[in-house]
């Protein structure tokens, strides 16, 4: 486990500055807009601009997932990584955990900045019980995290497969990315009957909609997501295996 923790520490240290800058800029934007609102800027414009950091998050994480591997090749540090006597999945898991940490920190900073300085968010927050907001905020964080994790796995697979071919690496990368999505849907559908026995999750209870007086009843069928999760786990394993055994450094 120690080698993995060293990899993780290395990856976390490498994102300190970019994460600090991007989180600081986003929080700074929200504070700036708060003052501009007081200075007479139109409410709608400020509201849209204040939501920009959150809308920016998926693109930032998408880019970072790709960049975390690309940088190793571009700066030739991939020689260091691939010479290490560690399983390939530890190399990819370390980067996956780093992206998850980026998601957590960035989301935390932007949420805190919104809670403190965004008057529109303040109004919404004030109309719900604090414990309900915290619980559901955490659930939404987990849902977002699962999306981030699956996207990072697809990106890592696409990147690693592209490094197994000598030519047209960009095209191979794109093609693998979309193919992985398609396979996840198709194969997930095939495996789904195996998980039909799992009861549907009552969302209205999970999100405690009763506490805010909403008489909504909603169930979430977990079987498709579990089968797709298995396929995605398979892709994660495949990426690590290919990285360890078939990938080449630049010629």
């Amino acid at each position: 486990m120690l080698p993995f923790l060293r990899l993780l520490r290395k990856d976390l240290e490498s994102i300190r500055w970019p994460l600090g800058i991007i989180s600081g800029l986003s929080a700074g934007l929200i504070v700036f807009l708060r003052f501009k609102l007081a200075g007479g800027w139109h409410e709608d414009l400020v509201g849209i601009l204040m939501a920009a950091p959150l809308m920016f998050l998926p693109f930032w994480l998408f880019w970072q997932s790709f960049q975390s591997l690309r940088t190793e090749w571009r700066e030739d540090t991939v020689y260091t990584l691939l010479c290490l006597p560690v399983p390939g999945w530890q190399l990819t898991l370390s980067k996956l955990c780093t992206i998850a940490a980026e998601y957590t920190v960035y989301l935390g900073v932007v949420a805190a900045a919104n809670a403190l300085f965004n008057p529109f968010a303040g109004e919404i927050l004030a109309s719900f019980p604090a414990s309900w907001l915290l619980r559901n905020g955490f659930l939404f964080y987990l849902i977002g995290l699962s999306q981030v994790v699956s996207s990072v796995i697809f990106i890592q697979l696409a990147f690693v497969v592209s490094k197994m071919v000598g030519r047209l690496q960009g095209l191979v990368s794109l093609w693998t990315f979309f193919l992985a999505f398609w396979v996840t849907g198709r194969m997930g559908g095939l495996l789904e009957p195996l998980f039909r026995w799992i009861p549907a999750v009552p969302l209205h209870r999970l999100f405690r909609l009763d506490l805010i007086g909403r008489p909504i009843v909603s169930y979430w069928d977990a079987a498709p997501k579990i089968s797709q999760g298995l396929i995605i786990f398979g892709f994660f394993w495949l990426t690590g295996y290919c990285l360890e055994n078939y990938v080449e450094v630049n010629g």
């Binding site: 060293r6 030739d76 540090t77 020689y79 691939l82 010479c83 290490l84 360890e244 078939y246 010629g251």
Partner: protein, 236 residues
């Protein structure tokens, strides 16, 4: 079944093709343990590709490789200390951070030896890798490879970027650190003159093929000239 255990490196029919070029064309080699081998050849002769195939950083298109009786892979990597020609260091790390990072992955890492080498190479632990000159980074790369008690040490152009006046000192350092009863070393270089004294055996690579291989002393006697002169005669 053949037993490769007596050899540090056993290579048979090794082929490697890159788009538009055949880098290795059926290399056959058996390198005994406990020796320093010079892998000599001009640029583009396949030296780096050969070393990358041994480590598993390049995938051969054919042939067999055994490193201490193991195929290239995770287990074999535990046995190999590889110094690539390219700068493979994290520039944002400090020198000490780089040593600590590497130390965490190898059981054969010798902290005392690393300290000694750091001093010998005149580097300071707190220096940022990104702020080091090319020559200093080359020295750090050498420390990373030599601080391990790895059975097989592969150095790809280890003196590239190091000024000629320091080379002799470093060559002496390598000889001093080398444990012939436990280690085997392959040094790839095209700067033969300053490194010749290191080699017990030499392999001349030309256009992806072994042109000449043998004991360095025997070749000197046989040709009546130094390895450097033989190199010039063959390649210049």
């Amino acid at each position: 079944m053949m037993n490769y255990a007596d050899q540090a490196v056993f290579v048979e029919g090794l082929r490697k093709r890159y788009p538009g070029a055949e880098a290795l064309r059926g290399i056959n080699l058996q390198l005994e343990r406990g020796q320093i081998w010079g892998l000599l050849g001009p640029n583009g002769s396949g030296k780096s590709t050969f070393l990358k195939c041994l480590v598993g950083l390049a995938q051969p298109d054919g042939g067999l490789i055994k490193i201490y009786n193991q195929e290239p892979g995770r287990q074999a990597r535990k046995l190999i200390a590889f110094m690539p020609e390219l700068d493979h260091l994290y520039r944002w790390m400090t020198v000490q951070g780089t040593l600590d990072f590497t130390a965490g992955f190898y059981q054969d890492w010798q902290a005392g030896r690393a300290e000694e080498l750091l001093d010998f190479m005149r580097l300071k632990g707190e220096q940022k890798v990104g702020a080091l000159s090319r020559g200093m980074r080359a020295r750090l790369k050498l420390i990373l490879a030599l601080a391990r008690k790895a059975p097989l040490i592969l150095l790809d152009e280890p003196f590239s970027g190091i000024d000629p006046s320091s080379r002799e000192r470093i060559v002496e350092g390598i000889i001093r650190q080398f444990k012939s009863e436990e280690q085997t070393m392959i040094i790839s270089t095209h700067a033969v003159g300053s490194t010749e004294q290191l080699f017990d055996g030499v392999i001349f690579l030309d256009q992806g093929e072994v042109y000449l291989q043998g004991n360095a002393e025997d070749l000197r006697t046989e040709h009546g000239q130094s390895i450097n002169d033989i190199f010039k005669e063959v390649f210049v």
